[in-house]
């Protein structure tokens, strides 16, 4: 069985490689794949204004040059290029580039840094079993001034490798990188930072948008994986935002799987079933924080709208999903809660260059546009003023958004 799987894999991979090679005539196959990945990321990024897209493609071109440079660099380290101000090594989470979500957002931030900050970059992905995270971090530390790891699963390895490589700075997405073993939480080392997001604040705004748009006074929330603390922040913010608009609103929450089973982040079929049940139960706006599972939400919105004749909406998460779903589903994406991993990646690189890199938790919230909501499609244009008011109140501290659904 394993043999057959491997054969299939080998054949598929050979075809995909050949296809990639045929795709571009002159550039390297991997550079070709990078083009596809970063371009997608560029477009699914809400703030991707027009020149951003150009930046991204420029970035990819630079990259193929860079690849060669780096080959040389590995051979003799004395021959470092003088011009770039820093070298950045990014390690993706499992799934790697091209996931149209988290990893691609990080890639977009890296591409922007490459275009605007005069840095060289290198990107690597771990094995499917995640067994080589430490090795990849070490390899990147060998050749980079700053290493960025995408995802909280890197926490343990980044703490170890970071402590052993004081010459490089380390940034880990979605982990505070604080050592809780002592009396008070403290950074693991002076060169290790954790980049975390106030997801509850962005979720508050889309919760408010959902409540303003709902005609039934009934909303839904689909979480990918419960009980490891992250997705509950989305739920809490969403509920709080909805209740700020309409205290009597009904919100149905459901999670696909429980930690440590992470399948709930990649199960569009379950997402569709769950969303259909919510729509049939009377909800007319459903927000998901469930990664790839969320695609099923938009399909369900389309199906339910067509079957019942009343319009229902889905709300996207992480990136601007209006840009990532198929054209036929776009009209069901009310808005998306933006988690600007790209901003965090860019900012930490900038901080490194400017010498303002700080260890421990670095928070990206509404005040620095680390989170937000998208307006693509124009479906929330009529309520933008109200949303901006909420945003200003949160930034001013007049509204404190809870992170625990029980308090929302």
């Amino acid at each position: 069985m394993r043999k057959r799987l491997l054969l299939l894999l080998a054949v598929l991979l050979s075809f995909s490689l050949i296809a990639a090679a045929c795709g571009d005539d002159d550039s390297e196959a991997d550079a070709g794949a990078d083009d596809a990945g970063t371009d997608d990321a560029g477009t699914d990024d809400s703030a991707a204004d027009d020149d951003m897209a150009e930046d991204t493609s420029d970035g990819s071109e630079d990259e193929s040059d860079m690849d060669e440079d780096e080959g040389d660099m590995a051979e003799d380290e004395g021959d470092m290029a003088e011009e770039p101000v820093a070298s950045v090594g990014l390690v993706f989470d499992i799934g790697g580039e091209g996931d149209l979500s988290f990893n691609d957002s990080a890639a977009a931030g890296l591409a922007r840094a490459e275009a605007e900050l005069n840095v060289t970059t290198s990107k690597v992905s771990p094995n499917d079993d995640g067994s080589n995270r430490a090795e990849l971090l070490q390899l990147q530390a060998d050749s980079s001034d700053i290493v960025i790891a995408v995802g909280f699963l890197f926490e343990t390895d980044a703490a170890a490798v970071g402590s052993a490589n004081a010459g490089s700075n380390f940034g880990v997405i979605d982990s505070s990188m604080l050592d809780f073993s002592g009396e008070t939480p403290a950074p693991y080392a002076d060169n290790i930072a954790g980049l975390v997001f106030s997801e509850e604040q962005g979720s508050f705004l889309v919760g408010a948008a959902a409540a303003l748009k709902s005609t039934n006074g009934h909303l839904g929330f689909i979480g990918g994986v419960c009980c490891f603390g992250l997705i509950e922040k989305f739920e809490a913010g969403f509920i709080a935002g909805a209740k700020a608009v309409n205290p009597d609103i009904t919100i149905t929450s459901q999670y696909i799987t429980e930690f440590p089973n992470f399948d709930g982040f990649n199960d569009p079929a379950s997402g569709r079933e769950t969303a259909l049940a919510m729509f049939e139960g009377g909800a007319d706006v459903v927000y998901h924080a469930a990664g790839g599972t969320g695609l099923g939400l938009f399909q369900a919105a389309k199906e339910h709208t067509e079957a019942s004749g009343t319009k229902v909406w889905g709300i996207g998460v992480d990136s601007d999903q209006y840009n990532t779903v198929d054209a036929e589903l776009q009209e069901y994406v009310l808005t998306s809660m933006l988690k600007r991993v790209d901003t965090a990646v860019f900012e930490i690189i900038k901080a490194h260059i400017e010498g303002t890199f700080g260890p421990g938790e670095q928070r990206y919230d509404l005040s620095v546009d680390g989170v937000g909501y998208s307006t693509t499609g124009g479906f929330v244009d009529d309520i933008v003023d109200q949303l901006e008011e909420f945003k200003a109140s949160i930034i001013a501290g007049d509204i404190v958004v809870p992170t625990d659904p029980a308090e929302a």
């Binding site: 491997l6 490689l17 991997d30 060669e68 094995n127 070490q138 809780f180």
Partner: protein, 369 residues
């Protein structure tokens, strides 16, 4: 005449695996060229990376659990049992061994011994379920071990959840209680340190266990009556039965042993982290099957297979960093090596059968004349 045939036999033993590796190198070079990469640069990067001291250490660390997993699978294969349940067996064993190790503190060697015994007992028991289902109810072992893998993952997920305090948000902190230093197998850093600085790498002490497992496997198989029974049952169950070997008992014992060895697969990871956490490395059971196939169930062959797999893992890391080739080339090489090795072994087997037939015919002719 006889000498010539042994050299020929030896050459044929090596022909298949060596041929497989050569074929995969050639094919991958071809694919790299189509993809627009330079195969020489890619292979150069792979080799120069592998021969760096810290990479060699990390390769051995990676190969150690793979080797144990390969032996676990091979014990089943020798008996014609396809135990694909090593995946579930080692995970169950790891979580219970880590739990017991963290709950109890004993002086040094006793503590380590307890952790190993628990791992072997849990792994054996989990495999034993599949064995008993087969001998008592005739359930196909492939099916039952697949199901047991799923059940094991479910149980582990449930256990991990139960350790988590209500509302706790520190994911990385979730896991078994840390094992005291007395329960941790010391690293073998003094060996690589003879050659130089190994930086943040540590050579795992579980390597010793892997070597013991390999030697024990070899002795058991070739130097004991039980090993003879096991091999003969695998080669021809009917003949073995006629010779007085109880088939049901052999299946049960083979599964228990395979599971007990499988239970040791996760030890390296436990020793590294001093606990079981949700971030535990998976797929070692499945990769062990590949390694056992490649190594032809031979204790030394499995070691070569495990090291080859570890080398390819390390290569995928460096190819990404230098950008000399897409890392997927490593998966292609793995697939080609495995397929061509299996085909090669079959060809060698047919040649051998033909040779034996020819020899027998020649001798018959001699006798007749």
């Amino acid at each position: 005449m006889i000498e010539q045939s042994t050299t020929r036999r030896l050459m044929m033993q090596f022909a298949a695996p060596v041929g497989a590796v050569v074929l995969s190198i050639v094919m991958s070079a071809f694919i790299l060229m189509i993809a627009g990469s330079n195969p020489a640069t890619a292979y150069g990067d792979m080799l120069s990376h592998a021969f760096k001291l810290e990479t060699s250490v990390s390769m051995i660390n990676r190969a150690t659990p793979l080797y144990i997993s390969g032996v676990a699978a091979a014990i089943g294969f020798k008996m014609n049992i396809f135990n694909i349940g090593v995946e579930g067996q080692y995970r169950m064993a790891a979580i219970f061994a880590a739990y017991v190790g963290g709950a109890i503190a004993l002086p040094g060697i006793l503590h380590i011994g307890l952790i190993l015994v628990v791992a072997m007992m849990v792994g054996g028991a989990w495999a034993g379920i599949a064995g008993a289902l087969n001998t008592e109810r005739g359930v196909n072992i492939v099916i039952s071990t697949i199901m047991l893998n799923g059940i094991a993952l479910g149980i582990i997920a449930w256990l991990v959840r139960s350790w988590q305090a209500e509302g706790e948000i520190v994911v990385v902190g979730v896991g078994t209680e840390p094992i005291d230093d007395s329960g941790l197998i010391p690293n073998l850093n003094f060996i690589p340190e003879i050659f130089g600085d190994i930086r943040s790498e540590e050579l795992t002490g579980v390597l010793v266990i892997a070597l013991v497992v390999g030697v024990a496997y070899h002795v058991l198989l070739n130097r004991t009556v039980f090993g003879y029974d096991l091999r003969s049952s695998g080669l021809n169950p009917f003949a073995a039965r006629a010779g007085g070997v109880p088939p049901k008992r052999m299946i049960m014992v083979a599964m228990l042993m395979s599971g007990a060895v499988g239970g040791l697969v996760g030890i390296a990871e436990i020793m590294d982290k001093a606990r079981y956490d949700p971030n535990f490395v998976g797929f070692l059971g499945f990769n062990g099957i590949s390694v056992a196939l490649l190594g032809r169930n031979h204790p030394a062959g499995i070691a070569v297979g495990a090291l080859l797999w570890a080398f390819l893992d390390a290569s995928s890391d460096i190819l990404q960093v230098t950008g000399a080739a897409p890392k997927e080339i490593v998966d292609i090489m793995r697939g080609v090596i495995l397929l061509s090795a299996v085909i090669g072994y079959e060809i060698v087997r047919r040649i051998r059968v033909r040779d034996e037939a020819a020899q027998a015919a020649a001798r018959l002719a001699e006798v007749a004349a």
